[in-house]
């Protein structure tokens, strides 16, 4: 079966004061339609760069990215990026933010309200982002991405700015939505537990210049018990790939 996303021998470097910095070297991977793939790796290894390349925000120096078999080079509504910083427009209300990507869709307002309801923001449609909590803001961002019905969600450490409880709640919320709506998801995270909680497959990146060092299938059914022996064994194996001993106090 043709993969939804195919990254073929992609490389990327940046010019810095200290010369050319090679960030990604010859990375190839593929993601099936509807699959949830998490990418973990050491800090600064190029996880975000890889996601931005796949989403089309930056162009690779070498190699090609294919979506549904066709070369892909520009961001589009087919794949929406949710970033760590968030990009909900502070000058628009929740409803207006949700309608932003609908480009004057006839039923835009109704659709926006429906997705506000799906993420639990009913009653806050007319609120401005500064009137929302961090968790609500993330919900608004998620709803704004979902309302345009993207085939792919690119998530770059989307919940890392939230406290642990809110992050867990948002993960469950995301799983609940994904059970109803089919999306291919690529998640970049530094949190191994988050990856095990959410993903069907976890790719471990090496340090820079990054390449795929290991891949783990996560075969447990949802809802997942992260305290189970199998989940803990997987966590230890991933941490070992990242160079962290599982009983390392750090």
């Amino acid at each position: 079966m043709r993969p939804k996303i195919e990254v073929r021998e992609v490389g990327k470097g940046f010019v810095s004061d200290r010369g050319r910095l090679e960030v990604i070297r010859n990375v190839s991977l593929s993601v099936r339609d509807g699959e949830f793939v998490a990418i973990v790796g050491p800090s600064g290894c190029g996880k975000t760069t890889l996601l931005n390349l796949i989403a089309g925000f930056i162009a690779p120096d070498t190699g090609t990215i294919f979506i549904d078999g066709a070369p892909h080079s520009k961001p589009s509504l087919r794949g929406i990026l949710i970033s760590q910083q968030g990009s909900v427009f502070p000058w628009l209300t929740v409803r207006e933010n949700l309608m932003f990507g609908l480009n004057g869709h006839a039923a835009g307002s109704t659709l926006a309200d429906r997705y506000a309801e799906i993420v639990g923001l009913t009653g806050f449609e007319d609120s401005y982002p500064h009137e929302l909590s961090g968790g609500m803001l993330k919900r608004a961002e998620l709803a704004r991405a979902l309302v345009v019905k993207p085939e792919i969600l690119y998530m770059d450490e989307p919940f890392s700015a939230l406290d642990a409880l809110m992050s867990l709640r948002m993960r469950n919320e995301l799983l609940r939505i994904l059970a109803k709506e089919r999306h291919t998801v690529m998640l970049v995270t530094h949190d191994v537990e988050e990856a095990i909680h959410l993903a069907d497959r976890i790719l471990v990146l090496s340090s820079r210049p990054t390449r795929i060092q290991a891949a783990f299938d996560v075969r447990f059914a949802h809802p997942r018990r992260l305290s189970s022996a199998a989940a803990q064994d997987l966590r230890v194996a991933i941490l070992r790939e990242l160079g962290v001993d599982h009983d390392d106090p750090a």
Binding site: S76, I80, S87, W91
Partner: protein
């Protein structure tokens, strides 16, 4: 009641300055420098004979026209320079040279070009307020957070939507800051410009009061009125900060 309480220290300082002024004039037996009460009676005289309103409205008219023209030029130009790198590269050096030139230095040129009527002070106001607004607007566009532009790009909106729903609202708070600076400078300049070869306006009133009989009570009355109107104009500009597309910038 709370706001009244908060104002007490500021009012106390003003009262102390007035008391010091009054005491100093009485202690030095000055024949020229007026007491605060003489300023109050002088102001009343100007109100009663109707000249105060004439001077205020003449100054406001000049500021209104000069500043209005500057807004019409500076905001589109600033947006264009902010958005188009070529326009910025081409025009910015010229503006950076013109910007630090004091409006007072333009007075001879203004009189040469526009004579001694209303056009000269209007030109001076225009030239002094247009640059701060161009700079603020340009900086506003340059400092739009990339994450918002990237989100708009991701949602594939048209260039028109990008400009009207992302760029302009993102820049508006900076534009308002530029307008506040521009109007403040305009009000400073109109008074200076009216001191030269004009027959109306608060600047003229101050110079005329001094020249025609050393009426320093009217000079100080004019100065205080200028200060109060300047404060009111800034208050009006601050109202713009409450606009829907601006107030997000000031949210906690």
């Amino acid at each position: 009641m709370h706001r009244l309480k908060e104002s007490v220290p500021a009012l106390a300082v003003i009262a102390a300055v007035i008391a010091l002024w009054w005491g100093t004039v009485l202690a030095t037996h000055s024949l020229i420098f007026p007491t605060p009460w003489a300023v109050v009676t002088g102001t009343w005289e100007l109100i009663e004979n109707g000249t105060l309103w004439q001077h205020i409205s003449a100054s406001l008219m000049r500021v209104g026209v000069g500043f209005g023209l500057a807004v019409c030029v500076a905001i589109p130009l600033g947006l264009w320079m902010g958005w188009m790198h070529g326009a910025y590269r081409t025009l910015n050096p010229l503006f950076q040279i013109l910007r630090p030139i004091s409006p007072i230095a333009w007075i001879p040129i203004a009189i040469l070009w526009f004579g001694v009527g209303d056009a000269s002070p209007i030109y001076l106001i225009f030239i002094s307020s247009v640059f701060p607004m161009i700079v603020q607007t340009t900086v506003g566009v340059h400092t739009i957070e990339k994450r918002y532009l990237r989100a708009a790009e991701n949602f594939g909106v048209s260039r028109r939507t990008l400009f009207s729903r992302v760029v302009i609202p993102a820049v508006l708070p900076q534009v308002v800051v530029g307008m506040r600076i521009g109007l403040g400078v305009a009000w400073l300049v109109v008074v200076a410009a009216e001191m030269i070869a004009l027959h109306s306006g608060l600047g003229y009133m101050i110079m005329d009061s001094r020249n025609a009989g050393n009426r320093y009570d009217l000079v100080i009355a004019g100065m205080i009125i200028i200060g109060l109107i300047g404060l009111s104009l800034d208050g009006v500009m601050r109202l713009l900060e409450r606009m829907r597309w601006v107030r997000w910038r000031y949210a906690p």
